[in-house]
Structures are given as C-alpha cells and as structure tokens.
Symmetry: C2
Subunit: 150 residues, 2 copies
DNA sequence: TATATTATATTGTAAATGCAACAAAAATTG
DNA sequence: CAATTTTTGTTGCATTTACAATATAATATA
C-alpha cells in the first residue's frame, strides 16, 4: 500500500505548487500562506506550535513568519505571562489577505473532491486524520534525532 | 472540507521530512529519494515525465537528477530514436540504495496505516487516487501560467 | 534553592527550489 | 515543406529550506 503515501505526496506537492503561484498576487512568497492562514484562524498562537502543527522545521517557520511581520501581514506580541513566547496576530492587511486565501482554498477543495459523495468525504477525512496522528510521533522523534529501526 | 487538504499537507510534509533525514545515511540530499525510487521502478523514464509524475518543477527535477548522476546513483543515456530525450537508468549503486529506500517506505507505510483495516486501506487509496486525478489538470494549467477563476 | 534540562526564538551557512530565459530537437500546421 | 509551436533539457539568479549553533526564559530535578 505504498501507493497511499505516494498519492498523498503528489496531491500535496500539486496543491502547494498551485497555491504558491496563485498567492504571488498578494506578495506572498513560497510557503508563507501556510502560516498566515493558521495565524488568522488561531490568533495568539506561538511560532513553535505553528511549526509543529504544519510539520515544518522550526527555523523555516521562524523565517517565513519574520517575513510576514516585515511585510505587515502579522504582528508579534510579547507574552507577558511567559517572556520567551511571542504571540502571533494577523494585522488588518493579514485578515484582508486571508479572505483571498480562503476563497482559493475553497475552490481547490471543490476541484479536489469533485465526484466524491458526502459519505466519501467524511470517510476520507477520518482516515487521513488517523494517518496523520499515526505519524506525528515518528516525525517528532526523527526530527529530534531519534533513529527508527527497520 | 478544507481539512482534507490540510491533513494531506501535514502528512506529506511529515513523511518527506522523515525520509530526508533518514536518507542522509545514503548521501541522498533533500528530495533526491523521490526521483531515485521512480527511476528504479521505471527504468528508461525521462526527466520531464518524472517531474510531471512527482509534481515538482521541471528545473528542480533537472538539478536533483543531475546530482544523482554525478553521485553515481543513475545514468543518463541518449535516446537514439528521439535525440532530445535522455533516458534515466539506475546504476548498481542506485539499485543497492533502492533496497534501503524500499525498506524505509514499507516501514513508514506500516506506521501510517496502523489501525486501518484492509477495507479502509483500499477505500483510502481509491479516494486519494481520485483526488489526485482531479487535481492534475489544474496543476498543469497553473504551472503553465493559466489563471483559475474563483 | 541551585543546577540541569527543556522550550522557544534567532542567526550563520550550505543547499534545494523555482522562475525566467535560453537552446535544440520534434511535432504540428498552414 | 517551410514556419510555427511544443517538448525536453539546461543555466543564472533570487529565494526558501533546514541543520548547527547560540541565547534566554521556564521548568524539572537533586
């Protein structure tokens, strides 16, 4: 069943590619949309959590987010309760951009799921959710330098 | 159902991340394993098809493949019937590496699909296959400069 | 409570990524 | 069959990506 992970890879790369091209219109460069979307949906989230959520290297996230800040899409605010955290919030410009990101995502969603019944979609989501939780442990383990045996 | 594409993205990034780390052991750098696997499974394939198959930019594929050749994992051979094509074949070293790649992929597969029944797996594959074919058109369209309306 | 460990964020550096532009062979078209 | 368009491959350049190393605050441990 190796094909399952391959299909997932192909789909992910295709959509990422499409989004990156389409979001240039907003001056968002490669990858940035991922972070902006999540910050808009979860204002106050910190960078570390965001990286973990998206499954991307911490330092990659750091740079993409810094750039979002420089461009004025988001703001970093000190967390007074925990001084090593910086909470992330969308700016007005960021919220504006988010509307477009959402429209694009909805459209891609429609294209992707064309011909699937509601039952199919629910089943697919449930199965993917399971796969994702199955893999999270290994991802964190390997990122931290752990060695899997096979 | 936006969550479906998000789950797919998370899973893909997590596995890609894991594979990239684990294949350093073979001196394969980021992304290279994708191409090597396909070349081993489909000897004689050309670069352009490979990029399309994997859903990656043509020039990115070109460079990853060139590097595989320099490192001795694959060979490029002129196609006598069509002089602008270069057919790709694994070397002995490449085939050797492929055994390891396969072992790793099988293991990741096991982890990913733990807790799914055979029926689940079949359903998942079928649904993902459908999604992938649904999106291929848009990917090619947008890569070639087409503008989607939404 | 002092010390060690963990969590979060940042920066230096090397490498991959992807767009633009180009070249050449092949296929299509008028 | 000549001209145009498409296919395949390459290179220059700007940017992202990710590993390593560093810093500092917070938490755990002895």
């Amino acid at each position: 069943m190796k094909e399952i992970l391959r299909e997932i890879g192909m789909i992910a790369r295709a959509f990422d590619s499409i989004s990156n091209i389409e979001f240039k219109e907003l001056d968002l460069t490669k990858g940035q949309y991922l972070y902006l979307v999540r910050i808009c949906e979860e204002p106050g989230i910190i960078q570390e959590k965001l990286a973990e959520m998206i499954k991307v290297d911490r330092t990659t996230a750091a740079r993409a987010i810094s750039k979002l800040e420089i461009q004025g899409f988001i703001e970093k605010k000190k967390d007074e309760d925990n001084k090593k955290n910086k909470k992330l919030y969308p700016s007005e410009k960021g919220r504006e951009a988010y509307l477009f990101l959402k429209r694009e995502a909805d459209y891609s969603d429609q294209v992707a799921l064309a011909g699937l019944s509601n039952k199919d979609k629910e089943a697919l989501l449930k199965l993917l959710h399971k796969v994702r939780t199955n893999i999270e442990g290994d991802w964190e383990f390997v990122k931290k330098g752990g060695k899997r045996n096979y």
